[in-house]
C-alpha cells in the first residue's frame, strides 16, 4: 500500500519544516536552478530535470572553516566548528543522494571527517524520483535508477493526485511524524533511463589503457577549468590554508580539483602531472578505477552535469565507450 501526500499537504509540511529547520530546495536563481535555502514554499521549484550545481554544497561546502584559534597570554586554543543547524534538503534526485552517500566512504572511514559527519547527521534528504530523465542522464548504467531510494531519508514519487511517500530511514520517519498520509493502491511505474553506457568492467579496462595516447588526444581540447569537478556530486577534493583576520586565525577548507595546474605541484616546483593528458586521465582514473578499487562503486552517479557543463564537451559516456573499444583492441 503506497501512502500519498497531496500537493497542498506537501506544501504545508514543507512550511512546518521551515519553522525549526533550514529548508534547502531547488530555486530559480537567474536562469539557473540551484539548491538554495528558501524562505517560503512558493520559491520551491517542483518540475525540473536537475539543478545546475550538485547538492554536495550542503555537505561539503565550497568554503568551510575547520577550526578557529583563540589566544590568551600566548597559549593558543583550537576551537573546532560545531554545526548545530538542522537542515532539510527537499527535491534531491536519487543520483545526487547516491553521490552524497558514496562520499561517506572517503570522509567517514577512519579518521572520520568531523565536519562531514556533522553535516550528514544534521541533514535530512527528501528525495524526488525522476519522472522523465534528461538526455544527459545515465544513472541506470552506473548502478542507480530514476527511482532508486537507497540513499535518501524519504522518497517522494509524483503521482496523479500528489506524491507517493516512502520513509526510507528512521530519520525520515521522524520527519514525517504528524503528517497524515492517504492510503492508495496506485502502483508506481518504474521510469526508464534509455541512455545506456557500457560501464561494465570499466575498472579493468582503464587499467589496461592507462598508457594509451588516447588521453593526450582527448586532453587537446580540454581547457582545464574546474567546472566538471565543481558541478560533480562525487568530486570531493579540497585545499586547506590558514587565514588571519583581526587577530583571529581560521583554517579554511575550499573546493579544489585535479584539473588545476598547481594541484599536484610539490615543493621545489616539480609537478608529476604537469602535462594536460595526465591531468585529464587522473579525473577519469579516479572515478572509474581508483575509487571503485578502494570503496567499491564507480565514483560517477550518472547525473550528466559534467556532460552539460563542460565548455568543450568532454563527455564521460563517450569516453567510457571509447575506452571499452580501446580495451577490447588491447585485449
Amino acid at each position: 500500500m503506497t501512502k500519498i501526500l497531496g500537493k497542498t499537504g506537501l506544501e504545508s509540511w514543507l512550511h512546518n519544516i521551515m519553522q525549526e529547520r533550514a529548508l534547502v530546495a531547488p530555486k530559480h536563481v537567474g536562469d539557473l536552478i540551484l539548491f538554495d535555502p528558501v524562505q517560503s514554499v512558493d520559491e520551491v521549484v517542483f518540475d525540473y530535470e536537475n539543478t545546475n550545481l550538485s547538492p554536495k554544497e550542503f555537505f561539503f561546502p565550497r568554503t568551510d572553516t575547520l577550526f578557529t584559534t583563540k589566544s590568551q597570554d600566548n597559549d593558543v586554543e583550537l576551537i573546532p566548528t560545531i554545526i548545530d543547524q538542522e537542515t532539510v534538503i527537499f527535491g534531491i534526485r536519487p543520483c545526487d543522494a547516491r553521490g552524497i552517500a558514496m562520499l561517506d566512504g572517503p570522509y567517514l572511514d577512519d579518521p572520520a571527517d568531523s565536519l562531514w559527519a556533522q553535516h550528514r547527521n544534521k541533514t535530512t534528504m527528501i528525495g524526488l524520483s525522476c519522472t522523465k530523465p534528461a538526455p544527459q542522464c545515465f544513472c541506470t548504467s552506473v548502478g542507480s535508477a530514476p527511482n532508486d531510494s537507497s540513499s535518501v531519508d524519504i522518497m517522494l514519487t509524483e503521482v496523479d493526485d500528489g506524491y507517493a511517500v516512502e520513509a526510507v530511514t528512521e530519520k525520515g520517519e521522524r520527519l514525517l511524524q504528524g503528517v497524515e498520509l492517504k492510503e492508495s493502491d496506485v502502483t508506481l511505474s518504474a521510469p526508464s533511463c534509455d541512455t545506456s553506457v557500457p560501464a561494465e568492467g570499466i575498472v579493468e579496462t582503464v587499467k589496461k589503457v592507462f598508457d594509451s595516447p588516447y588521453w593526450s588526444r582527448l586532453a587537446d581540447r580540454c581547457i582545464h577549468c574546474n567546472v566538471c569537478a565543481y558541478v560533480c556530486p562525487t568530486c570531493y577534493c579540497f585545499d586547506i590554508r590558514d587565514r588571519t583576520d583581526k587577530g583571529k586565525i581560521e583554517r579554511i577548507r575550499t573546493w579544489e580539483s585535479c584539473q588545476s595546474k598547481g594541484f599536484t605541484r610539490i615543493a621545489g616546483g616539480h609537478d608529476p602531472r604537469a602535462d594536460k593528458g595526465s591531468r585529464l586521465r587522473q579525473r577519469f582514473c579516479h572515478k572509474l578505477l581508483y575509487f571503485p578499487q578502494q570503496f567499491g562503486p564507480l565514483s560517477c552517479v550518472g547525473c550528466g552535469r559534467c556532460v552539460v557543463s563542460c565548455p568543450v564537451n568532454i563527455d564521460i559516456r563517450e569516453i567510457i565507450s571509447d575506452l571499452q573499444e580501446l580495451g577490447a583492441k588491447v585485449g
Binding site: 536563481v29 537567474g30 536562469d31 539557473l32 540551484l34 545546475n52 550545481l53 565550497r62 568554503t63 538526455p135 544527459q136 588526444r217 587537446d220 581540447r221 581547457i223 582545464h224 577549468c225 574546474n226 567546472v227 569537478a229 565543481y230 558541478v231 585545499d239 590554508r241 587565514r243 579554511i252 575550499t254 573546493w255 580539483s257 588545476s260 598547481g262 594536460k276 556532460v307 552539460v308 557543463s309 563542460c310 565548455p311 568543450v312 564537451n313 563527455d315 559516456r317 563517450e318
Partner: protein, 287 residues
Amino acid sequence: MGEDFTQQIRDKAKELLENGAVECVIGYETGSDGVSARPAFIYDAAEVDRLAFDNTCTHNLVKYLLDKKGKSTAVVVKGCDSRALNLLLSERQIQRDKVYVIGVVCPGVVEWGWNKRSEQLQKRCNWCRQHTPVVSDFAVGEPITEEPPAEFADVAEMATKTAEDRATFWRDQAERCIRCYACRQACPGCYCIDCFVELLDPEWVGIRIAPDENWMWNTIRAYHLGGRCISCNECERVCPVNIPLSLLNRKLEQEVLDLFDYKAGMSEDAPAPLITFKKDENLGIAE
C-alpha cells in the same frame, strides 16, 4: 552556408596535412549531443571529414595555440577570434610563421547549449563589429567590410543604476561565483604561469570562495583584460553560474575606446594602451 564552409575547410585541412605544412589542424566537429560543435584536433589527413562549421562554432580556438608553441599548426578562426591572434602576437606568445590561419567570415553564432540549439543569434553577435577576420592566410566566405559603429547599450543601462544598486548587483554575482576559473581558462588573454589569484605570497585573494574574495577576483581579472579583451565572450559562455562577464569586459572596452581610442587585437604592433602613454593626454583625472 554550413556545407560550403565545411567543405572548404576540409579541403584546405587535407591539403595542409598532406603536404606537411602543419602537424595539426584545430577546427570544429560535432559534439556528443549530435547538435552543437566542439573543438577538434586533426593530426591525420584521413580524419579531415570530422571537421565541420556551423552556427554553433563559438569556441575561441586561438587559445589552443598556446599549447602548440613551436609546432606549426592551422587554426580555424572567426572574426572575433582572429583579433586574439594579434593580441598573442603582440605579446610574443605565438609566432606568426608557425600558425596557418583559416579565416572564416562569421555570420553569427546562435544561442546553444549541450543538446540545445536555438535559432536566435547570441547577444554578442548582435554587438559584433568584426565579422571578417583581421588576420587570415586562407579566407572562407565573403568579407563584410562596412560595420556600423560600436554601441554599448547594456553598459549604458548598467551605468544608470545608483552606485548602491551596482554594488549589490555585482555582490550577488560574486556570491554565486564558485572560482572554477573557467573564464580564465577559456580566455586567450590569460596565459600566466601562476595567476595572481592563486599566489600564496603575496596572497592577493584569499583562498575562501566567498563574496569578498570573488569580487576581487572578478574585478582584477577584468582589469587585467583592460585594453586586451577582444570580446569573443568565451568567458561568459563557459561560466557555469552565468555571471554576466561581458558587462565588465564591454565596460572596459568602451572606456579604452573613449580614453585611448584603442581597440584590442586590431593590429600586431600597436602597443596595448596600458603599456604606453601620451604626454599631454587629458584623461579626466587629477585635473
